[in-house]
């Protein structure tokens, strides 16, 4: 298990955005883990084994996120991201793709869509806009969304912030057409 300095959980509950008040508010949540970057300060050619170390962290974070939203059955959208501190490199953030993504899919019971992601190198307080798509079909337009995340005091130079995001539904006043959840075929993770 990686060396975690802190966890941050944020839950947004959105009742409206200038339109009718939704019968069920949209909730978006993120969980962030601030960990020590074991590769900070110099170039390491062989970093891939660290992905195995990140698996239990991914599962722990996904569990925290589902707990914050109540139940895995409520989850309709997801995304992930990483912010690497200044003594690291962007490639360290890429180590999150497999363990972060698989952890969420495992706990959501076989979600089909690729987990959208983004990453950057930055200082403490850096904000990251994490893309969000429907868990079973990336083209569902109502669920294309994003959540801004960040930690005021992280990442320090030798740290990485890993992030997972989940949502309970479509954008609050979604009305831009496109593929709707009821029309998902659910075979290829796209439509």
């Amino acid at each position: 298990m990686p060396d975690v300095r802190k966890f941050v959980v944020t839950v947004e509950e959105i009742l409206h955005e200038g339109g009718p008040i939704a019968p069920t508010p949209l909730r978006r949540a993120c969980v962030l883990a601030v960990i020590r970057n074991p590769f900070a300060g110099k170039y390491h050619a062989d970093i891939a084994p660290f992905m195995d170390d990140l698996k239990p962290l991914g599962l722990d974070m996904a569990r925290r996120l589902i707990a914050a939203l109540g139940d895995a059955r409520l989850i309709e959208g997801y995304g992930k991201g990483a912010i690497v501190g200044e003594a690291g490199e962007i490639e360290h953030g890429a180590l999150w793709h497999a363990p972060g993504g698989y952890a969420m899919r495992e706990l959501l019971g076989g979600a089909k869509a690729i987990v959208p992601s983004t990453k950057k190198v930055g200082g403490p307080g850096t904000r990251l806009d994490i893309p969000i798509t429907h868990v079973n079909a990336s083209y569902v337009r109502s669920h294309l969304d994003a959540m801004e995340v960040g930690v005021p005091d992280a990442p320090r130079a030798r740290e990485i912030v890993f992030a997972l995001v989940m949502t309970t539904g479509a954008r609050i006043h979604s009305r831009a057409g496109g593929l709707a959840p009821r029309d998902i075929k659910g075979e290829d993770g796209l439509r």
Binding site: V8, L15, G150
Partner: protein, 191 residues
């Protein structure tokens, strides 16, 4: 409810280590933030009693949310508000000061100390640094602290965001002396 809510965001910050030292049990801080319409945006309103009543409502709602998010005993607390650009600092004062504290303290069971506060006017994404102090004795030096919260899409020009924060303990590694939590009498709110 008199408050017209657009969204409620909760933040949980759990610190497991600081400067290489394990924090056991981890320090938890939680904040609940409401984004509401400012009924007096763009006008001068002499009588602010509507906002005072809204403060009472939010004192209960946000205290319940923050305490639920924290889980466990509350040691310190704080409050803050940010008024969107068409509002007035006095609107924040009307919400925060006259009536918000009573329901907040009722949820906690106790709270003899002044609830430390801050307020500002700002645009969307403005940072609120919520001051924190021990809830029963303001002079407990280990509990002088702060928690940053920020919502990327609030406050809009005609909105106000109101934040309450609670913690499970003081700073992670307090060692600057002063009155200790175990020494307090907790009667006058100061010592």
């Amino acid at each position: 409810m008199k408050a017209k809510l657009r969204k409620i965001v909760t933040f949980i910050d759990e610190t497991l280590a600081e400067q290489g030292q394990t924090i056991s049990p981890p320090l938890r801080r939680a904040a609940a933030v409401a984004v509401i319409e400012n009924p007096f945006a763009g006008i001068f309103q002499e009588d602010l009693s509507l906002l005072i009543d809204i403060g009472e409502e939010l004192g209960l709602l946000l205290a319940e949310r923050a305490v639920a998010a924290l889980g466990g005993e509350v040691q310190s607390y704080g409050k803050a508000a940010a008024v969107g650009e068409n509002g007035e600092l006095e609107h924040a004062a009307a919400i925060l000061h006259p009536k918000l504290g009573t329901p907040f303290r009722k949820v906690l069971g106790k709270g003899a100390a002044l609830i430390p506060s801050s307020k500002k006017r700002g645009g969307m994404g403005v940072v609120l640094d919520i001051p924190l102090g021990h809830k029963d004795a303001a002079f407990v030096r280990s509990h002088f602290d702060g928690m940053e919260v920020r919502i990327n899409d609030a406050p809009r020009a005609n909105e106000i965001m109101i934040a309450l924060a609670v913690t499970s303990a003081g700073r992670p590694l307090p060692r600057v002396g002063g009155l200790q939590a175990k020494e307090i009498k907790g009667e006058d709110g100061l010592r």
